[in-house]
């Protein structure tokens, strides 16, 4: 069964086609990567899935629900979480509060309970705090839980970004370049987390990443975009052999010279 079905999606801004007739099928429990050169439309694709953009043509289905015109908060409630490429954290709040914000939909007490903060509100807050602590433990963020996010280093903030998406307890996790701008050690850390997220928590991961070494290593399936068009799909081995993909990355002449 396909988890997320992207069929014939076109996204155009005026005359510019960011995506044209893209088909993708995201299978449950796998790591699916979307790669492509700069400006290929990878982030636009994620924006379409998470509801920040709405496709001009085509549809996106999740478990037979149509997501095409849903807004981001509706989509995140359906269980599709998103980590942003450029840090989009709540910089005035602590790591703990950032993660608790991701539990927003699970905190179902009324505003009167909140004002008096007895019974229900207090209990539910404590329960969700326990859940957040579990994620903090998983992502190894213990030393930073009380620090303001704005004061943390870039690498840690990236980790918080992933952790916050995890705290939504999603079925599908969309990661937009979680390793951009990090050193080798931090990259290895994040890769380990991504694999753990998939293996231990059984979350479907959609990964957009530029580091081809990482992508080839951990992906189960790869989709390649170039100028908004899908030019290849398959397992890492198939993609590595695909002449169209090589052409997009290295250029036509180079492959001629190799012959």
């Amino acid at each position: 069964m396909t988890h997320l079905n992207i069929s014939d999606v076109t996204l155009s801004f005026g005359g510019l086609k960011a995506l044209s007739n893209v088909d993708m099928k995201i299978e449950p429990g796998l790591i699916t990567s979307i790669i492509g050169p700069n400006g290929a439309g990878k982030t636009s694709m994620l924006n379409c899935i998470s509801g920040f953009y709405h496709p001009t043509r085509g549809d996106i289905f999740y478990k037979n629900k149509k997501l095409t015109h849903a807004s981001p908060h509706q989509i995140s409630n359906l269980g599709i979480a998103r980590a942003f490429q450029n840090l989009e954290l709540f910089s005035g709040l602590s790591v703990l509060d950032n993660l608790l914000l991701a539990r927003h939909q699970n905190l179902n007490y009324s505003i009167l309970h909140a004002i008096f903060f007895y019974g229900k509100a207090s209990r539910i807050e404590a329960e969700n705090r326990a859940y957040v602590e579990e994620v903090i433990d998983f992502m190894e963020l213990e030393p930073y839980r009380k620090s303001l996010v704005g004061n943390l280093s870039y690498g840690i903030q990236k980790k918080v970004e992933v952790a916050r998406a995890m705290t939504l307890a999603p079925d599908i996790l969309l990661l937009d370049e979680p390793m951009a701008g990090m050193n080798i050690e931090e990259k290895e850390d994040i890769v380990r987390f991504v694999i753990d997220i998939q293996k231990e928590r059984n979350i479907t991961v959609v990964l957009v990443e530029h580091d081809l070494g990482v992508v080839m290593d951990i992906s189960d399936r790869i989709y390649v975009l170039d100028f908004g068009q899908l030019i290849g799909s398959g397992t890492p081995e198939e993609i590595a052999q695909d002449p169209k993909v090589i052409e997009a990355y290295i250029g036509e002449d180079a492959s001629d010279e190799q012959k």
Binding site: S50, F52, S71, P72, H73, S76, N77, A81, R82, F84, E88, L89, F90, S91, G92, L93, D97, L100, L101, A102, R103, H104, Q105, L107, Y109, I111, A114, I115, F116, F117, A121, S122, E125, A126, R129, A130, R164, L168
Partner: protein, 364 residues
């Protein structure tokens, strides 16, 4: 090993509920209780004239209003230049009852706590309506929308005969268990009433900020795109922020109406709106205790400047009209100085003092 419950040292939280508590040590709790006790007790030992009680009551009302403004501007990051109009909505709710039922109707004089809450709800209603542009607008454009509400409010009050064209509408003397509150006890009585409101609303905000209703406000301030991705509806959260601020303003307005025993439009002008904004900035945007520092600082400054202007007026030629010029001048100067040198407001000084005393006699 038993630890000392009076100090934070050596006490570890063993459950998340413990960490939620407002006061973590016996010391914190007793200092606060003592402070509260003193607030209630001092008028018994040091009775003050009506003139000074009026100033103190005014400060307390401003605290209620600024608590609301701080929620919408400080926590939710939506600049509101129409806060005095919301305060006016609360005051004119009381005034409307006086116009319809007569200013000494039993509902106005006996059920005044109900009327004050109703005024708050009315403020919340108008806050929600004025907040509706927040579904579409951001930043300065939204601020202009609140400014236009201020203007509409002033015009409506000034031209409707129901509101006496902005001239004073009288509000009757209220009755307490001891009988009608007379001229002598009036300001003392309202001191206690307003103080109780301040304490209750203060605790309300404190609790609210620990929950999702407080966090979502900060979320839309810091990053409403990400808030959307976290399942928070950014537009509705902003409308809710305005409604919340409207509630506080409405309560403040009703208290104002009862304290002055009359409602006139000059207390709810654009100048007052700016002055509330100044109090929020000087106190510290986005902090709860800033809502207390700001009104105290600005109101006391205002008093001192008045005296200073009087003094200076004796030595300088009267054509300079110093008294009128000095007030807006110092007022503007204080805001500019705070924005330049302490944008986090007096609340930041309080934070520094607190952390210093906590660690004393050690440096860190």
């Amino acid at each position: 090993m038993s630890t000392n419950p009076w100090l934070a040292t050596g006490n570890y939280f063993t459950s998340y509920k413990q960490e939620q508590a407002t006061f973590h040590t016996h010391l914190d709790r007793s200092v606060f209780t003592l402070f509260l006790f003193l607030l209630f007790a001092w008028p018994v030992f040091f009775p003050m004239g009506n003139k000074y009680m009026l100033v103190i009551d005014n400060i307390l009302i401003a605290i209620v209003a600024v608590m609301g403004l701080n929620l919408v501007t400080g926590f939710a990051g939506l600049i509101s230049i129409g806060h005095a109009a919301f305060v006016g909505i609360g005051a004119y709710t009381v005034a409307s009852f006086c116009r319809i039922m007569g200013d000494s109707h039993i509902f106005v004089t006996h059920f005044w706590p109900v009327l004050i809450i109703m005024a708050g709800l009315m403020g919340a209603l108008f806050g929600g309506i004025v907040g509706l542009p927040a579904l579409r607008l951001k930043h300065l454009y939204l601020a202009i929308a609140t400014l236009s509400f201020q203007m509409i409010f002033q015009w409506v009050i000034n031209f409707m005969s129901f509101f006496n064209q902005g001239q004073t509408i009288f509000v009757g003397r209220v009755t307490w268990f001891t009988g009608t509150v007379g001229r002598k006890d009036h300001y003392l009585f309202w001191y206690y009433v307003i103080l109780i409101f301040v304490v209750l609303l203060g605790f309300g905000i404190r609790n609210l900020l620990k929950t999702k209703y407080g966090r979502s406000l900060v979320a839309v301030r810091d990053n409403d795109r990400a808030a959307d991705a976290m399942g928070i509806h950014p537009g509705l959260t902003k409308v809710y922020a305005f409604a919340l601020a409207g509630f506080f303003a409405g309560v403040a307005g009703a208290l104002h109406a009862y304290l002055y025993r009359g409602v006139g439009f000059e207390s709810f002008t654009l100048h007052e709106s700016i002055s509330y904004l100044a109090m929020a900035i000087v106190g510290g945007l986005g902090t709860l205790n800033g809502s207390f520092w700001g009104p105290v600082a600005i109101k006391l400054l205002d008093l001192n400047v008045e005296q200073l202007a009087e003094l200076a007026g004796r030595y300088l030629p009267s054509s300079m009209n110093l008294a009128t010029a000095l007030r807006p001048f110092t007022f503007g100067l204080v805001i500019v100085l705070f924005l330049m040198f302490e944008p986090r407001g007096i609340a930041n000084w309080w934070r520094i003092v607190k952390s210093y005393t906590k660690l004393w006699p050690f440096r860190y």
